[in-house]
């Protein structure tokens, strides 16, 4: 018995981070785990940056952007992170409030974003508009506007994400708010008939959609590109809405307490070069935020192009989020 237990303790210890070569500085990046996954942009980005930086890049893969911010808050000024990568614009104000991020000191010229960017701390690395994705085998006439989505037939269902736990969920809430303003609650009540369920995160919602439980799901404009390139199918399409689409911009920042501020700065600068950006389209399935060395894959040209970009400034979201979520909660639970 005791032998078994000591073997188990040793094995547990072996599960902890393995010892690394001590001669090179380590750049620790907190990110979400679909970025650091084997199939994500992480490994190629690490290899490319390590060629020039004389350092080792180490990812800590967390669940999503919100988890990155919460981990940072939990750790406070003793965090081991040098870079946080994978927050979105809605989390910028809260991150700044933690006082843990550092100015990037970069001239962000030549960015390719649908909006202008002037933030002194956060560097954008990719973006995409949110969109309702539909199964073209089951929906022949997709909604052409948010209004048509809200008022459409109750038997055609959509799966949404909870704005209290998920970034796309919050994105859709802001989308509704930016189109309907004070009338959003009434529109939510109308839309409720068409909502199959509201999941805690994107994965479960998209899983229900591909399983056929509902013919529509909230996702990104770029989602069909994945299916065209990886699954060789044009079955799943994005519906283009007349009112415009809400934008998500993903950003990274250096951490103030980093022991390697120079390396962190270099990484942020590297992030908007082709060596980094080339990995974004077909590994993170988003639009690159800066020029790439080769044109985007053909499938990206076939995606819908929103006629108008909707986006609240980070301070507005941060100030109103609680009130807007309370309004949503009331409309949805009655």
């Amino acid at each position: 018995m005791f032998k078994t237990i000591s073997v188990l303790i040793l094995a547990l210890a072996a599960l902890a981070a393995p010892v690394r070569a001590a001669d090179k500085p380590v750049l620790t990046i907190y990110t979400y785990d679909s970025f650091s996954a084997d199939w994500g942009p992480g490994p190629a980005v690490k290899a490319a940056f390590e060629k020039t930086c004389g350092c080792t890049v180490k990812y800590t893969g967390l669940k999503d952007g919100v988890s990155i911010l919460n981990r940072l808050k939990l750790e406070g000024s003793s965090t081991k992170a040098d870079i946080v990568l994978g927050l979105d614009t809605n989390l910028i104000t809260e991150t700044r409030a933690s006082g843990l991020n550092a100015p990037h000191g970069l001239k962000l010229t030549g960015l390719k974003l649908p909006i202008s960017w002037s933030d002194g701390d956060f560097v954008p690395y990719d973006w995409a508009h949110f969109a309702v994705i539909y199964d073209s085998r089951r929906i022949k006439t997709p909604p052409r506007s948010l209004e048509e989505l809200v008022s459409g037939p109750a038997e055609q269902k959509i799966v949404l994400q909870d704005p209290r736990t998920s970034t796309p969920g919050l994105g859709f809430l802001l989308w509704m708010k930016s189109v309907y303003g004070p009338g959003a609650a009434a529109k939510w009540k109308q839309l409720k008939r068409r909502i199959l369920t509201i999941t805690p995160g994107w994965s479960a919602a998209y899983g229900l959609f591909t399983k056929g439980e509902a013919p529509m799901v909230l996702s990104y404009v770029t989602s069909p590109a994945y299916h065209m390139i990886e699954d060789k199918t044009t079955r799943y399409k994005a519906a283009k809405f007349a009112e415009g689409h809400y934008l998500q911009v993903e950003v990274a920042a250096a951490v103030k307490t980093s022991a390697h501020p120079k390396l962190a700065h270099d990484f942020l600068a590297f992030m908007i070069t082709p060596a980094f950006q080339d990995n974004i389209p077909t590994k993170n399935w988003m639009f690159p935020a800066a020029p790439t060395s080769r044109p985007l894959p053909e499938a990206f040209g076939k995606l819908i192009k929103p006629s108008r970009t909707l986006l609240y400034p980070p301070q507005v979201v941060s100030k109103n989020r609680k009130a807007w979520i309370a309004e949503w909660l009331k409309a949805m639970s009655e």
């Binding site: 078994t4 188990l8 599960l15 902890a16 679909s34 084997d38 003793s78 199959l196 229900l208």
Partner: protein, 536 residues
Amino acid sequence: MPTLRHTAASASASATWAALAFIAGAVLAAATGLIFLAPGGSAWSGTFTDPYVWRVARFTLWQAALSALLSILFAMPVAHALARRARFTGRTWLIRLLSLPLALPQLVAVMGILSLWGRHGWLARAAHFTGLPGLPGIYGLTGILLAHVFFNMPLAARILTAALERIPGEYWRLAAQLAMPRAAIWRHIAWPAMARVIPGAALLIFMLCATSFTVVLILGGGPAATTLEVAIYQALRFDFDPPRAMALSLLQVLVTTAVFFILRRFTRAPDVTASLEAPHAHPAGNDPAARLADTFWIGLAAIFTAAPLAAIAAAGLTPDLVPLLASPALHGALLASLILAAAAAALTLILSWALLQSLRLRDPSFAAMGDLAASLILVIPPVVLGAGWFIILHRAGQEATLAPVLVATINALMSLPFAWRILRPPFEEAQARYGRLCAALDITGLARLRLVDWPMLRRPLGLAAALSLALSIGDLGAIALFGSESFRTLPWLLYQKLGSYRTDEAAGLALILLVFILALMALAEALGGQSRRNTP
């Protein structure tokens, strides 16, 4: 002699105290870490005056009570049939199958349930094909109850079957001699045996459903269906409000403690009739009606449990499965899961054994304390335990090295209630049957373990180990905070695939997880069941 007996008693007491201190320490330290060391948050008091919170608490109780009731009602005829049919082909595997639903990551299980019951599931398609009216939509309370019964009916059936199988052989012989009719056998033998374990099983299921999370979020249909556990998670997400999370956890613990004491009133003392025989199989009713009824209930339970599992397995059989099986990422994740689960299972057994010692002391309040600790730990949200401990370890600069130990410990605590429910009844019976003999002959310590407890408890111990292995392997909750590239378990890998469109690979992983859990359970039970039988 008195001195020796006194020593044995105080050893039992110190073992229990050590286990209680360990559990209380783990919970209180996490709470302290989260309250005093975490930044931000609102005032505590606001939580208790929020009408939304009370609505959530009401829904939590309501759906958990209904789920427990339905699970037990369904499990009773199933367990009765299983106990009556002690031998049929595939019985061992069927019983093993009954432990699977609870061991799967909830998202995987929910997808399996939807394959059968969903809007686009097998039943809906069959209805469409035959022109019959389809099922009403399951999203809402229906879906939540359906999923909870899927998870917990099998658990209840296993607990009840075990209770029926412990009925001494004399009872059955006496029943045969008296030519008791079936209704009388049920009333005088089967029902009292089940009634002894039903409050405990109901409490366990109630707690599992009260803290249900993924099921409620996905099948609940919207924010109208929310449990306290969901609210706790939400408080720790965008709002990052540890005081509110703590207040909600406290509310969850208080509400469940109330239910604990209510159900405890119905718990009866174990049947202490001294039997000289080893427990006997429940004799089969041989008339056609009994046969038909048993076949019906066993068949229904098997289909109800197996169909969603079959759907999970079928979804996993894709061309992606072969490269997946060969991938080093999978091997690493399997190994990490295995080590964590084995460590968690070992700790669960040690803790429950130590807590069981409280039953030797013939002190009801001491025994109640053990029972309370082993039960209530389930309603402490793992995300709160994880976050609190994470802060403490981080302050000590040890979060990287100690994260696996922490994860294993949290998993062990979460499977403790299951092990406790499985081990307690046979332990009490061993005590009732041989306790006095052991005292008279002064058999204590290792000798008692070898001669008395092990032969009587090795099967339940194997079962408890199997279940806690399975529960820990399928768990994601506790590891979500500690993500890192060197430490990835199988469910973690699965969620990672789901998070980047790789549905087919995730389905493949679910199949691998299913097979892996089944194999481990078979192994753990074999270790418990196949050792040399030396009846005292």
